[in-house]
């Protein structure tokens, strides 16, 4: 079993399913490039309009929408049900995936453009946001991804954009309402230029003004029905954004501004740093970051070209255990290792488990998303829960598992003979499986 196959399956994948390491062994890099051509898997989950309809239904209104509703056993809450369907479908998709690199890109960009169910309005929308605003664009152009993510109802809700009104717009002149800077600030700080990317408070206000108009129209009950651009809320006039004049033009201003930001060298640097941190090392090597940033700029933000360049980095293939798996990646990897498409299919239990691991699905603590460095996931208590997850799954599933085959299919390329011998000598099969799952070779990627 080759080391490169291990890296392809873990660093760039979601952990090996039985047989995956041998399939990758011939040409690991070539196999990854093939995965980039995969298309999103069809789904029977509701689209954005359908999710909004569920969110606005009378039943949803009376059931309450807080996160606590997700596991308190309260019956008949369509928003909670939709959220849990999204979580279980996403988990099953990752466990069954034959193009795990593509799913990793979806997880990466979905985290880059975090919308979090910490805001109750996002609960019914987080899943469809990832499926409709993120997934179609992860091998497309960043400008398209940025636009789709910024203008999706989930983002407009999460970062308060739908409340923002241009002070000199028609509505702004009539009512005592005004600008909300939240989305404008986070687009600059988190999604494009980065905090040191060369913008100031004036630019935050400029982008907030440009974005005025994107909102939700509401029906009589106050329920958000339709999201779109309302010119009556839009702040008139030209705007200066990061030294570029954005000419007055209603919703076109947003497209001009996002296209300009997508092409900005600071954006290239910011995205390259995050990608290299995610796929190479917690402290991203400067040379790799510079290279990825230059590929980004030369290709005009073509994320397929950028991903191919990340795969081609020598530094991505040196240390096979440079990164800690996130709780989500870890749980998926355990299910994949056991070939278990039926594992962890109970929505509430899966939710509780991931929450206890510190990563409730679609539940990042802030717009910055989940952290991406080992110390963020390797606290003592967190490690105990990660071990507990493996022990729990092993206890339930180990009955039919051959320990030697499991090791061969997962961590064998990196495991010392003495450790392999030690695990195989475990007092019971479940403990052996739990030891595989708890090993540094399985917990890291």
């Amino acid at each position: 079993m080759s080391r490169d196959a291990f890296i392809a399956a873990n660093r760039f994948g979601l952990g090996a399913r039985p047989g995956e390491l041998s399939a990758l062994a011939g040409d690991p890099r070539g196999a990854l490039l093939e995965q980039l051509k995969a298309t999103p898997v069809p789904t029977d989950l509701p689209d954005t309009a359908g999710a909004l309809e569920i969110a606005g239904s009378r039943r949803a209104m009376t059931a309450g929408t807080t996160m606590d509703a997700n596991d308190d056993g309260r019956p008949d809450n369509p928003i909670r049900d939709l959220y849990l369907r999204e979580v279980t479908a996403r988990f099953a998709r990752c466990v069954a995936s034959t193009a795990p690199l593509r799913d990793r890109l979806v997880l990466f960009w979905s985290n880059h453009f975090t919308v979090s169910v910490a805001r109750s309005g996002v609960v019914p929308l987080a899943g469809v946001f990832e499926r409709e605003a993120i997934a179609p664009h992860v091998t497309g152009r960043f400008a398209d991804l940025l636009t789709a993510a910024t203008l999706h109802p989930a983002m407009l809700t999460y970062l308060d954009q739908y409340r923002s009104i241009g002070p000199d717009s028609k509505i702004g002149q009539r009512k005592d309402v005004g600008l909300n800077e939240n989305l404008g600030r986070e687009v600059l700080e988190l999604h494009t230029l980065g905090v040191d990317g060369g913008y100031g408070q004036d630019d935050v206000i400029a982008l907030a003004r440009i974005l005025t108009g994107w909102t939700a129209t509401t029906d009589k009950g106050g329920v958000a029905k339709r999201f779109g651009f309302d010119p009556n809320r839009h702040q008139p006039g030209d705007k200066m954004l990061v030294g570029t004049k954005i000419k007055e033009g209603g919703e076109q201003e947003t497209h001009d501004a996002l296209a300009m930001l997508a092409r900005h060298p600071s954006t290239a640097k910011h995205l390259a740093t995050k990608l290299v941190r995610h796929f190479v090392a917690d402290d991203p090597p400067a040379a790799a970051v510079d290279h990825i940033a230059s590929v980004y700029l030369q290709s005009d933000g073509d994320l397929a070209a950028v991903t191919r360049a990340v795969i081609a980095l020598d530094s991505a293939w040196t240390d096979p255990l440079a990164k800690m798996k996130t709780p989500w990646e870890l749980a998926v990897a355990m299910a994949r290792a056991l070939g278990g498409d039926g594992l962890m299919v109970d929505g509430p239990a899966l939710f509780r488990r991931l929450r206890s691991l510190g990563q409730p699905p679609f539940g990042a603590p802030s717009p910055a998303g989940w952290p991406d460095r080992a110390p963020d996931w390797l606290g003592p208590d967190a490690l105990m829960r990660r071990i507990d997850l493996g022990a729990d799954i092993a206890g339930k599933q180990a009955g039919g598992t051959d320990l030697a085959s499991l090791i061969d299919a997962t961590i064998a390329p990196l495991l010392s003979p003495s450790k392999a011998q030690f695990i195989k000598g475990a007092g019971d099969r479940a403990s052996g499986v739990a030891m595989v799952f708890a090993s540094p070779e399985f917990q890291q990627r």
Binding site: Q201, G358, D381, D388, P440
Partner: protein, 398 residues
């Protein structure tokens, strides 16, 4: 502890003893000193003008508009502190601490950071420098190093927050249930960690913490119904800290302060959170009774919020705000403030409460006058960017 000997025995049997020297070990409370310090991070930017409203400032009511809270004695009015300041009515559970001389409030204060990014501002609050730092080392971790190193610190968190991160090993603990893996399995897994020091150290720390917690028997407490959302974590921490073998320095986090919209005034979204926070502080104080006279708690946030409401009845990222200092070790009640006023021309950049106090002067004074670190060490090794930092006098009883 016996478990330590067992683990060492196993490790030596498995891969030899050579690695042991590099592994941080952990045992609570090596120093005889019994003073406690808890640092609570209020993440998201708590609105200091809402939590501790300057109702006596002539510009306050106009500036805050619908977010303004009434004067003391009026319906839903603030709880009186001094001529200028009151406490948000939802903070009633800690008003008694003020009356008892166990609460001080810092106002118009923040870190040296001015650019209104949550993540950079929290970085500065936690690393203690003049600007964001990529060092990954927090000022409390540096203080722990000066106090004697590993085994004194505990973070109520999945992983240590930045303020507690760094070379000195700290424990982490989260309120949770479940029996967990057996000792047999954990011993075996620890052998797999013999060549992975970070995993070994984390596992050893987690097991020690669980042991301590089992001794403290908080189960009955955890089952109790009707506690506030934040209270169990605060009570759990109290049960760990009042134990003579427990941690001396701890951190806790409360999130949810980023009130961009509909934050409310005397009631509403922010009031609810303030109420939960005050309930939890009150429970912490009760459960720390045996050591309360030796305890200081500081609760601080990364920045305040805009002085005036934004367009959605909330507030945007601002600059100076308020912080709380509580404890039986305090000198008495006091407002620590050099009030800049709320007149338009007194606001920072025309929009935020102007900063007049560096929060680090409070942190540094707790470290000097309560924890007992030498001032020279604090200046040279904890807040190294702040050579001229003024300390806050008379914070704690000498």
């Amino acid at each position: 502890m016996n478990t330590l000997l067992n683990r060492r025995g196993l490790l030596q049997g498995f891969l030899g003893a050579g690695l042991l020297a590099s592994m941080p070990r952990y045992a609570f409370a090596k120093t005889p000193d019994d003073r406690r310090f808890i640092f609570i991070i209020l993440r998201g930017g708590m609105d200091g003008l809402a939590a501790v409203p300057p109702v006596g400032d002539k510009d306050y009511a106009d500036l805050r508009g619908p977010l303004a809270i009434a004067a003391p004695g009026q319906p839903d009015g603030v709880l009186p502190l001094d001529d200028r300041f009151g406490l948000h009515p939802a903070l009633a559970p800690i008003h008694g601490l003020w009356q008892a001389g166990h609460l001080q409030i810092v106002h118009a204060a923040t870190t040296p950071y001015r650019d209104r990014s949550h993540f950079d501002a929290q970085n500065v609050l936690e690393t203690g420098g003049n600007g964001p730092s990529g060092s990954g080392v927090g000022w409390l971790n540096r203080a722990l190093g000066l106090m004697g190193g590993s085994g004194l610190g505990l973070a109520v968190n999945e992983a240590a927050p930045l303020v507690m991160s760094g070379p000195t090993q700290v424990a982490t603990w989260v309120n949770g249930a479940g029996a967990g893996p057996s000792d047999y399995l954990l011993d075996a897994i620890d052998r797999l960690y013999a060549d992975a020091p970070a995993f070994h150290a984390a596992l050893a720390t987690a097991r020690d913490t669980e042991q301590l917690l089992a001794d403290a028997d908080t189960n009955a407490m955890a089952r109790q119904r009707g506690l506030g959302r934040l209270t169990p974590a605060f009570k759990g921490l109290a049960s760990l800290m009042r134990d003579a073998r427990g941690p001396r320095i701890a951190t806790l986090e409360v999130t949810g302060w980023d009130t961009h919209s509909a934050q409310g005034a005397a009631k509403g979204r922010l009031a609810t959170l303030l109420g939960q926070f005050a309930d939890a502080l009150s429970a912490l104080r009760q459960d720390l009774e045996p050591v309360w006279a030796k305890t200081v708690v500081v609760a601080a946030t990364e920045f305040g919020r805009t002085a005036a409401p934004n367009g959605s009845a909330g507030t945007d990222h601002g600059t100076a705000g308020a912080a709380f200092v509580l404890g039986g070790a305090l000198e008495g009640r006091r407002m620590i403030v050099d009030w800049p006023g709320l007149a338009r021309d007194r606001l920072y950049e025309g929009r935020d409460l102007a900063p007049t106090t560096d929060l680090r002067s409070v942190f540094a004074s707790v470290l000097r006058d309560h924890v007992g670190l030498p001032e020279a060490d604090i200046r040279s090794r904890v807040f190294v960017d702040a050579a001229r930092l003024p300390f806050t006098p008379d914070l704690v009883r000498g």
